[in-house]
């Protein structure tokens, strides 16, 4: 018997060696396989029921715009306006390869021959004008007439997005009508051609060197500028998803500029609790939906801290920058938001959080039952509008980069969309399920 037992024991010894030879987890994990991105619940936008079919571009060629498009000498860099708008036009024309029709128009004043302010042109024409100056500049362009005609053209063909490039100085012939509330009402009336529930408007502001005569909106004497920065604007009008698409694909160069989005809707970003990142206490991440955490142990002495990551790439840049205004609805818990940060500025992000761009740390010390917390982000307030607006542009040299009654014009757009659900809705509202283990 002892022989067999010995045999058994040597087996046992060998097995023990196998056991003791194993390395403990956490030691030497670096040489393991490349990290795989964690599975996430993607909130996908509804399939393109109405895909982008047409982009129409309207470039204002009134005399007031001439200062933005100086004639360049060979080798010049061109003005900011020329660089941005040339790239924009090229980007729009580039959409033709994807089955999108494009059309281009000059915006001029109504004449005795034609009451229309929009004049069809070609890509080559418009691009040439931006590059080397306006010939036969129009005397002026009427903002409200322009908006009305643009919207009428847009509604004639579903799936159309309109891009307007202009200085957006509202200067109707009758100066008695140029006061704040009247201007707002005029703009609102012009937009009323369209159904507010089916329209979204994005406004991007930019400045460019202006060389030439500046015609004040107050209709005082023109001033000659020599390269001072003046604002111009790009408006994008159309159905909300298409406007978002055009903003992303064609207006990338303006993504970081001051902007405001009216009646825009954004898909809920991908989000989820991040394992192994700035956490503490007894919890683990649950993929959902809705995503959340399961808490194994929590007390006032040992609160639980976890981090929720968001992928905000579909939100405009100012909204992303406003991430620190994120709000937490704690439901029936004492959950509170400790801090928020962007991936680029915060602590190094582990593989589990690589798909997220922004993070929020939540603390919890009491959890009687399953609760659904909500993380909400309110739209960024366009505080730049006040800084870009003036009620008197007769001395634009001293005023700097300001636009006559811009605030009232944009107020008119706000008024037009008042009552739409998106007007008061948060950018996103992310439910987070927190439950005891």
């Amino acid at each position: 018997m002892s022989v067999y037992l010995k045999g058994g024991l040597s087996w046992l010894a060998a097995s023990l060696l196998v056991v003791s030879g194993c390395t403990a987890p956490g030691e030497g994990q670096t040489e393991k396989q490349a990290p795989t991105p964690p599975k996430t619940v993607a909130a996908t936008a509804s399939p393109a029921a109405s895909a982008l079919k047409q982009v129409q571009v309207f470039v204002d060629v009134s005399g007031g715009m001439n200062g933005f498009v100086p004639v360049n000498k060979p080798g010049d860099a061109g003005s900011e306006f020329q660089r941005t708008v040339t790239a924009l036009l090229s980007g729009v024309e580039g959409q033709t390869g994807r089955g999108v029709r494009t059309s281009y128009y000059y915006v001029k004043e109504a004449t005795a021959q034609s009451s229309k302010v929009l004049q069809p042109a070609s890509y080559a024409d418009v691009s040439q004008t931006v590059s080397s100056g306006i010939r036969n500049a129009a005397k002026g362009s009427d903002l409200t007439t322009m908006l009305r005609e643009v919207l009428q053209r847009q509604q004639a063909q579903p799936g159309t997005v309109s891009i307007i490039v202009s200085d957006f100085i509202y200067a109707p012939a009758n100066t008695k009508n140029v006061w704040g509330g009247k201007v707002s009402a005029d703009v609102k009336d012009a937009l009323s051609v369209a159904d507010p529930s089916k329209l979204a408007v994005s406004v991007f502001a930019n400045t460019s060197a202006f060389r030439g005569r500046f015609y004040p909106g107050r209709r005082t004497a023109p001033e000659t500028l020599t390269g001072q920065q003046l604002p111009y604007y790009v408006w994008v009008l159309g159905p909300a998803p298409l406007v978002a698409q055009v903003n992303r694909t064609v207006l990338g160069s303006l993504a970081g500029q001051p902007q405001v989005h009216f009646n825009a809707t954004f898909p809920t970003p991908t989000y989820g609790a991040v394992t192994g990142y700035q956490g503490q206490g007894g919890w683990f991440a649950v993929a959902g939906p809705p995503p959340g955490v399961q808490v194994t142990a929590v007390s006032a002495q040992e609160p639980v801290k976890f981090v929720v990551g968001f992928d905000l790439k579909n939100l405009p840049q100012p909204a992303q920058a406003g991430f620190q205004t994120l709000e937490l609805d704690p439901a029936n818990t004492d959950a509170k938001l400790l801090k928020t940060w962007a991936a680029t500025t915060g602590p190094a992000v582990p593989a589990a959080g690589k798909s997220y761009s922004h993070f929020a740390q939540v603390q919890l010390s009491r959890l009687p039952s399953s609760q659904t917390l909500h993380l909400r982000l309110a739209p960024a307030t366009p505080s730049w509008v006040a800084a870009y607006s003036t009620t008197d542009d007769s001395r634009i040299m001293q005023q700097g980069a300001k636009t006559f009654l811009l605030g009232s014009v944009l107020q008119g757009v706000t008024d037009f969309f008042a009552g739409q659900p998106a007007a008061s809705a948060p950018l996103f509202d992310a439910p987070l399920l927190v439950k005891p283990d």
Partner: protein, 151 residues
């Protein structure tokens, strides 16, 4: 079902896995995987002892002491399976999430793993004992090993 069964079994002895961030790996992969492997290991050893050694072949290994050696072997192999699978799964998880364990967490993880390894040695032995009683009637020369009951 199996997942729940083995999770309940191991957590009844060991409590919740620590650190908590690794709980999903234990519950979804380690507990059910190790539990199932251990069951089949014990079944294989029981069949080896009762059917292969004491029915198909005619060997002198039918005594209770021989049975005890196989019992010990099942405990050792059960421990090995537990450690190997748990370590592999946890390392894979840590690599995929990029999680860095703090010094304290690595220590508790190791302690929990040793506890799991020891527990599974007992589980393997237990499975082997239970399965022994199920398969001993198939045997010819070891029908009464280690005890006469129930034959």
């Amino acid at each position: 079902m199996l997942q729940k069964l083995f999770t309940t079994l191991y957590q009844a002895v060991l409590g919740n896995p620590d650190p908590a961030s690794l709980i999903p790996v234990y519950r979804q992969s380690i507990f059910p995987g190790v539990g199932l492997y251990t069951f089949f290991l014990a079944l294989a050893l029981a069949l080896l002892f009762y059917v292969v050694l004491n029915r198909v072949l005619t060997t002198p290994y039918f005594k209770s002491s021989h049975w005890a050696v196989v019992l010990l072997l099942s405990a050792v192999l059960g421990a090995t399976i537990a450690w190997q699978k748990a370590a592999a799964d946890i390392n894979a998880q840590l690599a995929s999430t990029g999680q860095q364990l703090a010094v304290g967490e690595a220590a508790t993880l190791k302690r929990y793993l040793w506890g799991f390894t020891a527990t599974n040695a007992l589980v393997a032995a237990l499975f082997f004992v239970l399965l022994s009683f199920l398969v001993k009637s198939l045997s010819v020369s070891a029908r009464t090993t280690p005890v006469r009951w129930p034959n």
